[in-house]
Amino acid sequence: MTTLNVRGGVGRTADSARGEGIARFSALPAVISTAVALGRALLIAVPVLLVSTFITFMLGGLTKQDPASLVLGDSATPHDVARMQAVFGLDKPLILRYFLWLWNALHGDLGSSWFTKIPVTDSIAQRLPVSLSVAVFALLIAVLLGGTFGILAAVRQGGWLDRVVTVVTSFLATVPGFVAAIALIIVFTLVIPVLPSGGWVPPSAGLLRWASFLVLPSLALSLDTAADLARQLRTGLAGTLHENYIVGAQMRGLSHARIVFVHALRNGAGPAVAVLGMHVPRLIGGAVIVETVFALPGIGSLTKTAALEGDVPVVQGALLVTIVLVLISSAIVNVLLVRLRPAARREI
C-alpha cells in the first residue's frame, strides 16, 4: 500500500518514517510521472487551442476594417487597394489564411502591425514581462491571503473570525476591479502617500523600486481571486474536518496543526484549486482594467489600443499569446489537482 502511494506521488502516509525514506528513493519517477501528466494535459489542450484561436482569427475576418484602404487613405484607386490586399494576403480565403497564420505563429512570426509595421512579436515581447509579473504577483498574493483566511475560517468555524471572513469575501465579490483599484490609489497615494499611483519601471532599475510599482496593481487584481479562494477553501475544509478519518486522527492524538495541514487540507483543497484554475485566465485577461488604471504598459493595454485602432494582426497575436498562457496555466492546475487528490482524475 505504501509503495503504491509513493509511486502515485502521494508519499504521505501515517507511518511517515518508512514512507519518507521510500519517497526520497523514488523522487525521480515522481518527477517523470508529473512531467508525463503535464504533457498529457497539454495535449488535451491542443483542440481547445485550435477552436479558440480560430474564433480569434475569425474576428479579423468578420471585421469591416480594410487595411488596404486604411493605410492608403481616401485617394487610393481600386487598383492600389487590390495590390495592397495582395501584400497583406487578404485575397486568399479565410480558412487558408488561418492555417498560414497558425503555421507562421508556430515559427515565431505573428506578422506586423498594419499601421506601425512593427513586428507583433516585438511589441508582445516588450509588454509580456509587465503583464506576467503583475499576474504572478497577484496569484501569490491571492494564494497567500485566500489560503490563510480560508484555513483560519474553517478551523475557527462559527467563530467571529469565520463570520468576518464570510462578510469580507461576500463584500469583495461585489466590488468591480476598477473600484478596488481606485480605492487602493486613494488610500495608498492620497491618504497614506507611500506608493506610486501608477507607471512602471523594469526590475533592472532596482528590485525594490520595481516591487513598489507592482504592489498596488497586483493587490487590486488579486482581491477577487483571494476572496473566492478563501470562500472555497473554507467550505471544502469545513466539510473535510467533520469526516470520520479526522476524528480518528484526533483520537490517535495527532497534533492539531498536523491534522489540518496534512490530513484535511489535501482533501479539502480540491474545490479551491479548481477555482484557482478558473481564476488564472481572469488574472491574465482581466489585467487590462488594472493596466488602464495604473497606466501599466502590458498586453491588455496593447490589445485594447490595437483593437480600438482596428490593428487586426496585433489583436490576433496578443490574444494568441494570452490563450497559450491560459492553456498552459490551466494544464498545470489540472495536474496539481490530480496530484492532490488522485480521485479527481475523472473530473477533468
Partner: protein, 287 residues
C-alpha cells in the same frame, strides 16, 4: 417562478429583491427624473455634494446625480441582454448534448472549452472594438463568453437526472425527447438555472461596467456608471469622493443579485424544502 417566490420568504432574499426592484425602477424612470441635463456643462466644476447637486459635479460641471440616473438604463439593460444571449446559447446545447449522440457531445464540449480559454475581458474588448465600437456587439461577445458557464451547469444538472429510472420508464413508454426534457428534465434543472442566472447577471453587470469604464461600446458624452467612474479617475486628488456614488450603486446591485442567488439556492430543491419546513415548524412551535 416558484423558486424566487420562496426565496422572498427569507430576510436576505427580501432585502435583495427590494434593492433590485429599486434599481429596476431607476433604470426605467431614471432618465425622466434627472434634475439637470446630464450632458450640460456648467462653470461649477468638481463641486462637493451639496443641496443643489446631491452627488456633486464632475470635471465639466455636469451634475453627477443626473448622469447616474441617465446612465442607469444602459448600465442595467445591457447586463440582462448579455445574460439572455448566454442563456440561449449555453442552455440549449447543455441539455441536448446529453441526448443527441457522442459526436454532437464532443463538438459542443470542445467549442465550450475553446470559449472558456479565451481571456474574457480582452476578448470582449477586441470583439466590441473590431466589430464597430457599439454596445450591442460588446454584449453579444459577453453573452457568448458566459455561455460555457450555463452550458456546464445545465449539462451537469441534466446528467445527474438523465439516467433516472423514471426518465428511462417514460422513454420506454414512448415519450418523445422533447416531452422528456419538458416534463422531467426541465423542472429538475430550473432551480440550478435560476441561481446561475442571478449570479451571471451580477457578473454581467460587473463586466458591463468594466467595459464602459474602459470606454468600450459607448460614445463619450453618453453617461454610463462605468464611464462616470473613469472620468472621476483623473481628478482623484481634487475630488477623492467622486467615485463613491456610482461605485455604491454598482456594488449594491451586484451584491443583491448574489444575495438573491444564495437565498434561492438555500430555499430550492429538496434540501431547501426541508429547511423551509423546519423554519415554519419552529415558528409554529414558538407561537
Amino acid at each position: 417562478m416558484k423558486q424566487v417566490a420562496s426565496a422572498l420568504h427569507t430576510r436576505a432574499g427580501l432585502i435583495a429583491a427590494i434593492v433590485l426592484a429599486l434599481v429596476l425602477v431607476l433604470a426605467v424612470i431614471g432618465p425622466y427624473i434627472a434634475p439637470f441635463d446630464p450632458l450640460k456643462n456648467s462653470g461649477a466644476i468638481l463641486q462637493a455634494p451639496n443641496a443643489t447637486h446631491w452627488f456633486g459635479t464632475d470635471y465639466l460641471g455636469r451634475d453627477v446625480l443626473s448622469r447616474v440616473l441617465a446612465g442607469a438604463p444602459l448600465s442595467v439593460y445591457t447586463a440582462f441582454e448579455a445574460v439572455g444571449i448566454g442563456l440561449v446559447i449555453g442552455v440549449i446545447p447543455g441539455i441536448t448534448s446529453v441526448y443527441l449522440g457522442r459526436t454532437y457531445e464532443w463538438i459542443t464540449l470542445r467549442v465550450m472549452d475553446g470559449l472558456i480559454a479565451l481571456p474574457f475581458l480582452i476578448f470582449a474588448i477586441a470583439v466590441a472594438a473590431l466589430l464597430g465600437n457599439a454596445v450591442q456587439q460588446a454584449m453579444i461577445a459577453v453573452g457568448i463568453l458566459i455561455a460555457p458557464a450555463f452550458y456546464r451547469i445545465t449539462r451537469a444538472a441534466v446528467l445527474s437526472h438523465a439516467n433516472s429510472q423514471y426518465v428511462t420508464a417514460s422513454q420506454l413508454f414512448g415519450a418523445s425527447l422533447f416531452r422528456v426534457i419538458r416534463t422531467h428534465v426541465w423542472s429538475k434543472i430550473l432551480p440550478t438555472l435560476v441561481v446561475a442566472t442571478a449570479n451571471a447577471t451580477a457578473a454581467g453587470l460587473l463586466i458591463v461596467s468594466s467595459l464602459t469604464f474602459l470606454g468600450i461600446g459607448v460614445v463619450p458624452p453618453d453617461p454610463t456608471w462605468g464611464g462616470i467612474l473613469a472620468s472621476d479617475l483623473s481628478y482623484l486628488s481634487q475630488a477623492p469622493y467622486g467615485p463613491i456614488f456610482p461605485s455604491l450603486l454598482i456594488m449594491a446591485t451586484v451584491g443583491s443579485l448574489n444575495l438573491l442567488a444564495d437565498a434561492i439556492k438555500d430555499t430550492s430543491g429538496d434540501h431547501g424544502r426541508v429547511r423551509l419546513l423546519k423554519r415554519r415548524g419552529r415558528r409554529v412551535g414558538t407561537a
